[in-house]
Amino acid sequence: MEYKISNRLRIGAIILMILGALGVGYGFMDSHKSFEDIETMLNEESHHGEVSEVATVEEAHGASHAEGDHSDGSHVDEHKAHVEHVLHQVHNRPWSALYVAGFFFFMIALGVLAFYAIQHAAQAGWSPVLFRVMEGITSYVLPGGILLLLVAFFADSHVFIWLTDGMTTEGSPNYDALVANKSGWLNKTGFFIRAIIFLAGWSAYQYFSRKFSLAQDNADINDKSNFKKNFRISAGFLVFFIYTESIMSWDWIMSVDPHWFSTLFGWYVLSGMLVCGITVIAMVTVYLKSKGLLEHVNDSHIHDLAKFMFGFSIFWTYLWFSQFMLIWYSNIPEEVTYFITRINDFKLPFFGMVAMNFLFPLLLLMNSDFKRVNWFVIMTGIVILCGHYLDIFNMIMPATVGDRWFIGIPEISSILFFAGLFIFLVFTSLGKYPLLAKGNPFVKESENFHY
C-alpha cells in the first residue's frame, strides 16, 4: 500500500527545524562573548561561592587587567590563560552541540544502512517486509552526511583542537609534539578527502541497493538478477563499511582528543550505531502500522527487532566496559585522563548513560512477551535513543567544552533541528515507493514469519 507523508507530520517536522534553527542561532549569539564578559562571568561565579576571598583576588586581577597593569607577572598570565581557556570553551559550545546532534542522526541512518546490507548479504527470510522502511531511513545518509561535514568544516578548531593554528609548527606557543607527529594523518585536507570517499561509498551503496530493490519489484517472476546484484553489492559494501566505519570513528570522533586513542573505538561506535538504527526501524514500523499500513508486519517482526535492540544494547555495554576496564586497570596517565575528565566533570551523563543504555534495555526487554508489545518497544526505544545521544555527547563535549557543559538551548535546539530534518527526509522518501518489496524472493517467507 502507498504511503504519503501526512501534512501534520510535514508541518511538525518543519516547525521542529525552524525552532531548532532559531535556537541554534540564539546559541551562537549567546556564545559570542568577549574576554571581559568571561572575566565578569567568572567573577560572578566565584561570588556565588562562599569563598569571598577568592572573589576579591579575582576582582583585583580584573581591575589590574583593565588598567593594563601587568606588573604582578605570572599570576596575571595564569589568570589570563584561564579566562582565555574558558572563552574558547564557551565559543566551542554551539558548534559542538550542532556536531553532536548532527552525528547522532547521521549515525542512525548509517546504522540502518549497515543492518540493511547484513539482511541482504545473509539473505534473511524474516526481514524483507521491513526493507522499504530501512530504505526510507537510509535516504538520510547523503544529505545528513553532507550537512555533518559542513558543520565539521566550519566548526574547524572549535570541535577539532588539532586544527588550531600553530599546533604543528615548531616554535609556536600552540606547538604540540604529539599532534605534530600525527599531522600526516590528522590534517584538514586529509580529513575531508577521507570523509568524501567514505560518504561517496556509503551513498553509492544506498543508491544502488534501493535501485535494484525497486527494479526487482517490476521484474519478471523468473528474473532474479536484481536480487543477486543486491546480494553481491551488499557483501562488497560490508567489507568497505567495516574499514571505513572504523576510520570514520577515529577521524570524526576520537580525534577530538588527539592525544588519546583506543583500539576498539570503531567497534564501540558501530555498536551504538546499530542499536540506534534498529530502534528507529522499530519506531518507524510501529508508526506506519498505527496508520494501518505495513499490513504484513506482525508482532513477530517487532519481537525480532526488539531482540536485536536488546542484544546490541548488551553488545554496546560489553564494548563500553571493555574499553573502560582496561584503561582503568592499567592506569596509564595518557589514557586514563580520558575517563578522569568524564567522571569528574560529566558524572551524571557518564553514569546516567550506562543506566539508560544497559540497565533499562536489560530489565525492560528481557521478558519475551514485552518484546511483542508495541508501545513498550517504543518507550524503551526512546530511553535507548536518549542514552545514545548522551553517549555521543560524552565522546565530544569533554574535549571541546570541558566543565562548561550543559544540556540547554544550543544542545536541545540542535537536536530539534536535526530531528525535524530527519523526519522530513525519511518520511518523504518513504512515501515515494510502495511499502512492500514484493519482488524479493523471500517476501512470502517474511509475510508468514512467526515466532
Binding site: 576496564m325 582503568w328 586497570y329 592499567s330 592506569n331 528481557m366 519475551s368
Partner: protein, 179 residues
C-alpha cells in the same frame, strides 16, 4: 483413574504430525504425550501445553550467581586478604568493582546455564540410570508417535487417526505392560 488403555499413532513427517495434533485437539481428545526424534516448532502450542517456566528459574539462578560472585570476591579480595588491585589500594569493593565485573558476569552465566539444564532434566524426570519412557525406539530415529488415552472409543479414535495420515495405529494395554 488413569486410562489403562492408550492408542499409539505413528507418523513419519512432522508437518503431518502437526496437522494431526490440531485435528485431534479440535475433536476434543486429550493427547497424553507426543514422542519426536527432534524438537518440532510450535508443537507445544498445538498440544495446548502450559508455557514453560524455565526462563523464570534461569533469571533466579542468574541472580543467585551474581550474589555468589559478589560475596566470594568480597571475601577473597577485600576481607580475608585485602589486595592492592592495579596500584589502587582502596580496599573497597565498590571502588575495585571494574576488576570484579568479569567474574560477576561469568558466575551469573555459569549458575544460570548449569542450574537451568539440571532443572530441565529433573522437571522432565530424567536422571542417570533411568529407564527410557519411550514406547517405541523408532521415535529416536525418524518416526513420530502420538499417545492418546482410550475411553471405550477405540473405533472412532482409530478412524480419526487414520484420516489424519497415521501410518500405524496400535492399541496398548498399559496395565499389562506394567506387570
Amino acid at each position: 483413574m488413569e486410562a489403562s488403555k492408550v492408542i499409539h499413532a505413528i507418523y513419519t513427517d512432522d508437518d503431518v504430525l502437526m496437522s494431526a495434533v490440531k485435528t485431534v485437539k479440535a475433536e476434543k481428545h486429550h493427547i497424553e504425550e507426543v514422542y519426536t526424534p527432534f524438537p518440532v516448532h510450535g508443537l507445544d502450542k498445538a498440544m495446548g501445553l502450559a508455557p514453560t517456566r524455565l526462563a523464570i528459574t534461569a533469571f533466579i539462578y542468574g541472580c543467585i550467581g551474581i550474589s555468589v560472585a559478589f560475596a566470594m570476591m568480597n571475601f577473597i579480595m577485600i576481607k580475608d586478604w585485602p589486595q592492592d588491585i592495579g596500584g589502587k589500594p582502596s580496599f573497597s569493593y565498590l571502588e575495585n568493582m571494574p576488576a570484579f565485573v568479569p567474574i560477576m558476569f561469568e558466575l551469573t552465566v555459569f549458575f544460570a546455564a548449569h542450574l537451568m539444564v539440571i532443572t530441565f532434566y529433573l522437571r522432565s524426570r530424567m536422571w542417570p540410570f533411568k529407564d527410557a519412557e519411550n514406547p517405541d525406539p523408532r521415535t529416536t530415529d525418524d518416526h513420530f508417535l502420538m499417545e492418546i488415552a482410550v475411553h471405550n472409543n477405540e473405533e472412532s479414535l482409530t478412524n480419526l487417526l487414520k484420516s489424519t495420515g497415521a501410518v500405524e495405529i496400535n492399541i496398548i494395554d498399559k496395565d499389562e505392560d506394567a506387570h
